[in-house]
Symmetry: C3
Subunit: 363 residues, 3 copies
């Protein structure tokens, strides 16, 4: 972490000014920055913090007057939030897992590990698994039989990769991610109340107790390149075909992706999202926290769903949606405003009834 | 996996036709089936896929003309989805955990393991635990002190079974399942704002900061036979009595079953369900994804709750419910339709007001 | 567990009567209590159970006539639920992890462990980690580099503590808790549809597919004293500053606390809660099950949110809220009642229209 202001500016493809040879210890918020820290000040709204800290150099918004701010040096990025990606990648302190393959790691003799791989203590790699070069397998990870991880995988601790899972390059998994749990698929010997209630929108017919028979998962999970899976998130096997996640998709913590689901490229799922079985999610779809999507439906490309949205039916591409059940965001706002005004409406109608009744009695 | 068409038909108690000696490599969707695969085609809607694949044999719906479909052989099941249970059980490729008890497994000398048990690498089995015959304990599983697992348990990796948990035969747990976490039960020295707000439906009275005192869990968890628990799902200890789950109940990923909850037999909980403390769930209850149920309430037998339903009070048996708060599904649809038409109603009332005001002025 | 009635009463600072030398085997519900059990009967509503069990002693409500109940002894607590905290702490049967540092535990030579610490089988403690006295580190726990755990920590199994996490005294973590997963923070090179939709309340402008660039987490997690974290709950690293949780806060299972979130003191979060990035939660805040809070917002002190509430904007201190979007509980009830009566209102307005039209035609 011995980067100078110039090093950082060069890496970010940003402009720098002043004493660009200053060495940066770490990145800090303006108010808590020490004299060797780079203060992060990409929004003029937070400029007051600078005076409370001791920063001599800051990452600033375009047009900022670094000298007037009393700084010795500055980096200026045209889109500060985007520059933060490069900056934090440079300064990431990491997890300090031991280098090399730890003596307690159990690697099946038939597994195939490429060069420059870290395998942390108490990791287990099963038969015929293949791990790409420059990968890190964290402590207590289990890599199942016949699974494939592409180059540059980084698995934190306690990650499960089930048998036969195929993952592309640049994969990241947070602690406790579960890729390849069995799909939750059960069936009754005769048509069930659930099947009838779905067909009739609410009538389950004659209630009859039945046992559930298990449908095993013969499919696996296929994940593209540059995918990230959050802590304790679960991606289930498909039933016959694979559950699949496209290139560049990023998934937060505690998300559920059920059997047979297809997720497109460059999607973003916030924490607590749940996608039920066999649903298809397009490309560049953004789902907010706690969003749920019903089974066997389709969400088009570029859909954005606000936090808590529950999608109960198909959503065309490009829509911005909210609510339970999901509707277009402007429709939701209109419905909601009407609901807030509803108690008043009741009063108005009561007054009208009185008035009309009086008018009527005049007939 | 060297089953013939005849073997499979016999196992499924289904009819078969044509060259029933054909050996089946695996099950596939029609469009991606190879010449040695059994195409799964139980719904005539997907018949077009068959021509795009190379299947010579398919599992077909009753009445299908297999010869007209150009097949060499066919299996016909009266309820294809149910046949899929038996078929996938036969063809499940499994996890390939090593046979026997791995040398790195730590088994307390006082634990009692029946015959034919697999204990995978780095599993830990605590004092006085008892494991039934023909069970598999996956990698990184922890089986707590004095716990009991019945015959034929299958635990994937990273499963936690807390001390004193009792589980029947045929148990399945997906990666990261937690059975027997401590119940979340805290109490303030004096009556809290929450207790008052619940009594008054919204008024917490005078606000007073208090510390939370921990109520420890003295109860455990009791689980019946043939239960399945999904990945990263949590079932908490009871406070005094056990939290309990009845025979045949199947629970998906990321579900929370709190302390003292009683779940009946043959229930099905989809992913993300949460059941709060001391609630009783009847038999054959089906809860969709992200369903929440408040504490200390009762859900009757055969209730079906659609995805996202939040149950805030008692639900009689047999109801099909939806919404937040939960109402009967047809009531929900009626309320929702009314809400969609509400902006128009406001306009109608405004027009009426104008009209009545005009009429009134005619008086 | 050889406590007498007198021992327990003394520990709870409660009154006791009768044969106070009776030894107590365990605590039980009245109907299932054996002759050596302490029946828990702090609510007269459940008094009938006593006759069905065999208890000779009970924990009773103030004013109960223990002799008339046929008991040989009694403990009377002024607030029975609070007494339960002390009682269950005394009687907790525990997890029976082995004493001392297990031979399979891997402890980096640079780690610093105080006295009287248990480290269970297959726990890993990383470089420069510091563990306070009288702590228990359960099986398969991973304590990351440079992390600090205060005195008296109790970690069940499979807990992840990431590098650089700082935790105070008296910490408890349930199985699978993840402290210090990377924050979920991604940014597009140019302004994204999400950024535009948030600004415009629903209009994402021209749709454009962009890749997500990762913002790494340079901050860590800071947790105060006496905090409990539930099973499979996730607390993410901050981006620049630490994510922080104040003293005395208790968090249930499957909760998500995102990057940069600040949680105050003595809060209580039920299972399934999700707090999105950079949000600030005050002190003594109680969030029911499945509550979601949007990012970059503020919840004041002493707020209580009912189960399923989704908070989409700032909440002033002291409010009791419910609903999606969250409103004050009494407003919610009023809106909900109006919604239930809405179909009737439509009929009334239709009748009015008919009546007015008739009246109007009389003009």
């Amino acid at each position: 972490m011995a980067y100078t202001v110039q090093d950082i500016a060069t890496a970010l493809d940003a402009e720098c000014y002043g004493n660009t040879g200053l060495a940066i210890a770490k990145v800090a918020e303006p108010a808590s920055a020490g004299p060797d820290d780079l203060a992060l000040l990409t929004n003029p709204k937070f400029v007051d913090g600078l005076a409370r800290g001791a920063a001599r150099v800051a990452l600033l918004w375009p047009g900022a007057d670094w000298q007037a701010l009393g700084l010795e040096a500055a980096i200026v990025a045209s889109r500060g939030r985007f520059a933060l990606a490069g900056l934090t990648a440079m300064m990431d302190p990491g997890q300090h897992f031991p280098r090399g393959i730890h003596e307690t790691a159990l690697i099946d003799p038939s597994a195939d590990l490429a060069e420059n791989i870290r395998v942390a203590p108490y990791a287990v790699i099963g038969p015929r698994a293949r791990i790409g070069a420059n990968s890190t397998i964290g402590p207590f990870c289990h890599i199942g039989a016949d699974s494939v991880l592409g180059e540059g995988a980084f698995l934190r601790d306690h990650v499960s990769i089930g048998a036969r899972v195929k993952i592309g390059a640049g994969f990241r998994a947070q602690p406790g991610a579960r890729i390849g749990a069995d799909g939750m698929s059960f069936v009754t010997p005769e048509v069930s109340g659930v099947e009838r209630a779905r067909g009739s929108l609410g009538d389950q017919g004659d209630v009859k107790a039945q046992k559930w028979a298990r449908i095993h998962s013969l499919g696996a999970v296929s994940i593209g390149d540059d995918v990230e899976i959050g802590a304790n998130t679960c991606v289930d096997y498909g039933t016959i075909r694979d559950t699949s996640i496209g290139n560049g998709t990023k998934i937060d913590n505690l998300v559920h992706v059920a059997h047979n689901v297809t997720v497109g490229t460059d999607c973003l799922f916030a924490a607590g999202v749940g996608i039920a079985g066999s649903t298809r999610i397009g490309n560049n779809v953004v789902l907010g926290g706690h969003v749920g999507v019903t089974d066997n439906t389709v969400i088009g490309d570029n859909v954005i769903a606000g936090g808590g949205t529950k999608v109960l039916s198909k959503v065309p591409g490009g829509q911005v949606i909210l609510g339970y059940p999901a509707v277009k965001m402007d429709t939701h706002l209109e419905m909601y405003k009407a609901l807030r005004r509803l108690p008043r409406l009741f009063k108005q109608v009561a007054a009208l009834q009185k008035s009309v009744s009086k008018n009527g009695s005049n007939d």
